[in-house]
Amino acid sequence: MTYVRPKFRHPELQKNKLGYTVDYYEGALSTLCAGCGHDSISASIIQSAYEMNIEPHKLAKLSGIGCSSKTPAYFLSNSHGFNSVHGRMPSVATGANLANRDLIYFGVSGDGDSASIGMGQFVHVIRRNLNMTYIVMNNGCYGLTKGQDSATADQGSKNKSGNVNPFDSIDLASLAIELGASFVAQSFSGDKSQLVPLIKAAMNHPGFAFINVISPCVTFNNNVGSTKSYDYVREHIEATSTIDFVPQMQEINVDYGQGSKKHVTMHDGSLIELRKLSDDWDPLDRQSAMNAIMNSKSKNEILTGLLYMNQDVKDLHHTLNTTDKPLNTLTKKELCPGSEMLKGINAGLR
């Protein structure tokens, strides 16, 4: 028996700007089921971090419990990681982010971890607009406990044992928009050409960025009648647009002549280039994003791509007016400003 990934890599792998080849961003060998959508998302995360020239020690990956929450072991081995309590990843992320605002926070969760046990945490982290990327690997079932329907299983979807789900599902993307998330996207694990630019844009977004990724559970929810199977998703997928992410440093040649092309400039000058597929949708308009989702739903389509984005937002640090430095860089001078300062504060409270 052998199940070890050889160390040899393709000798012609390209290096990124930091001089790393993509394998520097890999993690341990996955122990998830063969063919799990989550592994494909992990590969997209690896690719995105490599293409974004992220220094691995500048990123912290956080997760809760579940198949999805195991995945941080399978990517970015050289980054910080925290595997937290079930559904409580947002709390840990909030604490970490408040302590060190200089890191990129990358949260990974699942449909159980976010839509059931962690729903309370999920809605509040959105409401607070914590600067992080939050990916839900959504397979519509509890894969780790043998595939019971989860809260995101669609009404009428059939599970592996033939039972039809009687309950309506929670649509995490609509919920996130409703709660004021400033970057909301939806994608499919089997479509890296869409998912990779979405992850890159999400990591670049200076607020809460949510990506709901449909990720088939090949073992318990890939049967005929399931609305989260590879075949069903491929048949019902509908994209808002094709997407490309153009980092700020890169020179761009944009053909503005084409009517269906739209550019969204991000806070740092990076561009999101969208080739729109539907005319009545504007990613900067919350109303039209909600309408687009509803329209797709009524046609039994799964709308993917960037759904909504609000550039004009203030993240949690801004709202709380915290220090602009990570806490671990603060010195005695800033932390103990002296008795004069205390006197001034006390005087202000008289």
């Binding site: 028996m1 052998t2 199940y3 070890v4 990934r5 050889p6 160390k7 040899f8 890599r9 393709h10 000798p11 012609e12 792998l13 060998l29 996955s30 089921c33 063969a34 063919g35 799990c36 959508g37 592994d39 494909s40 992990s42 590969a43 694990s189 089997g190 890296k192 088939p216 090949v218 073992t219 890939n222 590879y230 075949d231 491929r234």
Partner: protein
């Protein structure tokens, strides 16, 4: 691109780079696995069937397999295929019982073989068991041809050669040794049904520069000199020796000279060191025996004083290359160099020579006095006369001669049975799944990271004293196992079934060497650039699937696939399977088509 036709055995054969590069197409990974399992006899027999002289070739082969080895494309050095072959030969048990046992039932056909080198011996081995009466002619007193006369005993012990020659002679071969065939015409008047000419390229090239005639007592043609040493007509050489030439014969000459009393042996070669024809390991062995190789020196004169050779003068040159990369040696503009010598050995090439073949026998010769030989069937323009080995197209090597012998034997058999010579038997092919269970394969799929192990050598002080003392000691069984484990099992093929694929990307994500991509189909040039890592090695094929559900195709670049099986491990639907591909060149009388 069109989907790859994996039903064509040549597709997967090409993936097994070593086997494909071997002129005899020996199933290399198969015997390396057997060596790892300590099944040395079985490993030997796979070799014996394919290349007839495993013990000889395990020491002396030119190893075309090793530069082709895929391992050399993912790390520094290929698997030591050649020296593993020797391990099988050194450790084998009783192999004779697995060989055909004479006497054989006669088919009343007689075949004459001229020259007892590897080509003729291969023909003999293939035809004798079919009932042919084989008559083997050679001018020397023992069989083996150039394997005996040109390969020094410190590289190939006589006992090893004798053993493997005798396996063939024991098949009831009628030997006519000490018999130089002076006239093919005369031979053809005898009642042979076919004649095979495997007489090699016996004429060493001379160097006609000033002083050559005066110095002739101390100037020797390399291959003749080596033969005289092998048959013990020559037992010593002067203290200072110059060897001219940069090929493997020059390396054998200089190392032999070191053992016959040459204290200061120098190799002098026209070309730059890096472009010498000698195999790199043979150059290393010469350097190890304190033999300097002086490159970029063109011989000018033999210097003879009072009838005694004093040395040679050389002109210094440098290599210049034109836009096409073609080399030209131009004078370096430095003074000529004088090098002292008591003896000079000329090893600057060898040529074919057929003074004994009359030109009115229906055998056509070309402008270079080479016979016209069919490249597929090895028949000359005389339907009864076949050529093979160095005699066919000039000097090559032992393994090429063996490959020729197999094909010539097929032709002779077809001819004697009145069949068309172009009716070649198909190769023996098999393709079997290696899956045994979850994470379990019938082959050792783990890829080890060990770098190539060096073959230990005997102490130089001992080997330089005794011409017959073998230098290389061969791998011991533990090192052999470790070296065998470096083999990537390229014959265990990644077989893809498009109808089972659900396009989950698992194989693409897990592949350590990024060989697998899923993309829209295109023509080959575009596809090669569209892959996860562009496929720049144009000698390696792309494996293209049928269209998948999304209309995309699976493309696998065969170039640096480790055959680790992880694509198949990670495939939820067994669309990928690891299947062992066995390919063996069919020998005379064994093909389905011919019986």
């Amino acid at each position: 691109m069109e989907p790859t036709d994996i039903n064509n055995p040549e597709y997967f054969h090409k993936v097994v780079d070593c086997q494909n590069a071997c002129p005899a197409h020996t199933p290399v990974p198969e015997y390396i696995r057997l060596i790892a399992q300590e099944k040395y006899t079985e490993a030997y027999m796979i070799n014996w069937d394919s290349n007839v002289f495993p013990g000889v070739l395990g020491r002396t082969c030119d190893r075309p397999c090793e530069p082709a080895c895929r391992r050399g494309r993912v790390e520094e050095e290929p698997v030591a295929i050649c020296r593993l072959k020797r391990v099988a030969a050194d450790n084998k048990g009783d192999v004779k019982k697995h060989m055909p046992q004479a006497p054989f039932k006669s088919n009343n056909k007689k075949v004459a073989l001229i020259g007892a080198g590897p080509a003729s011996l291969t023909v003999a081995r293939d035809l004798a068991p079919l009932g042919y009466e084989i008559h083997l002619y050679d001018e020397q007193r023992l069989g083996g041809g150039f394997m005996r006369s040109q390969i020094p005993s410190f590289r190939l012990p006589e006992s090893v050669l004798n053993e493997e020659v005798n396996y063939i002679l024991d098949l009831g071969i009628h030997t006519h040794f000490n018999h130089y065939v002076k006239s093919l015409k005369e031979l053809l008047t005898k009642d042979y049904d076919a004649v095979f000419i495997g007489s090699g390229a016996p004429k060493g090239r001379d160097l006609n520069i000033p002083g050559r005639a005066e110095a002739s007592a101390n100037v020797h043609i390399g291959i003749n000199w080596l033969a005289n040493v092998a048959f013990e007509h020559i037992t010593k050489v002067g203290k200072k020796v110059i060897v001219l030439g940069g090929g493997n014969t020059a390396m054998d000459c200089c190392r032999t000279a070191r053992r016959l009393g040459g204290d200061e042996v120098k190799v002098v070669v026209r070309s730059p060191f890096a472009e010498m024809k000698a195999s790199p390991w043979e150059k290393e062995d010469a350097a190890h025996e304190d033999i300097p190789i002086i490159d970029n020196h063109v011989p000018k004169t033999f210097v003879v004083e009072n009838g005694v050779l004093k040395g040679m003068t050389f002109e210094k040159v440098k290599a210049e290359y034109d836009a096409q990369g073609k080399r030209k040696l131009v004078p370096a503009g430095e003074p000529d160099v004088f090098i002292e010598a008591d003896d000079v050995l000329i090893a600057i090439g060898q040529e074919n020579s057929f003074p004994w073949i009359e030109r009115d026998l229906g055998i056509e010769f070309d402008q270079w006095e080479m016979p016209k030989v069919d490249e597929l069937t090895f028949v000359s323009t005389n339907a009864k006369v076949f050529f093979g080995g160095d005699a066919a197209w000039g000097p090559k090597n032992v393994i090429t001669a063996v490959a020729h012998g197999h094909q010539a034997a097929i032709s002779i058999d077809l001819m004697c049975r009145g069949e068309s010579l172009t009716n070649r038997p198909a190769p023996h092919v098999n393709l079997v799944s290696q899956k045994m269970g979850i994470h379990e394969w019938a082959y050792d799929s783990a890829v080890v990271e060990d770098i190539r192990y060096a073959v230990p050598q005997a102490d130089k002080i001992l080997t330089l004293k005794d011409r017959k003392k073998e230098v290389e000691l061969g791998f011991d069984d533990k090192t052999a196992f470790k070296e065998a484990e470096r083999c990537l099992n390229c014959d265990v093929q990644t077989v893809f079934a498009a109808d089972k694929c659900i396009e989950c990307d698992a194989c693409m994500d897990i592949c350590p060497t990024s060989c697998i991509s899923f993309t829209e189909n295109a023509d080959e040039t575009d596809l090669r650039n569209m892959l996860k890592v562009p496929a720049t090695n144009l000698t390696q094929d792309l494996y293209v699937s049928d269209a998948l559900k999304t209309t995309r195709v699976m493309i696998k670049d065969e170039n640096v696939c480790l055959h680790c099986g992880l694509c198949a491990e990670r495939c939820p639907t067994s669309a990928w399977d690891m299947q062992k591909f066995f390919y063996n060149v069919t020998k005379a009388g064994k093909g389905c088509a011919s019986h």
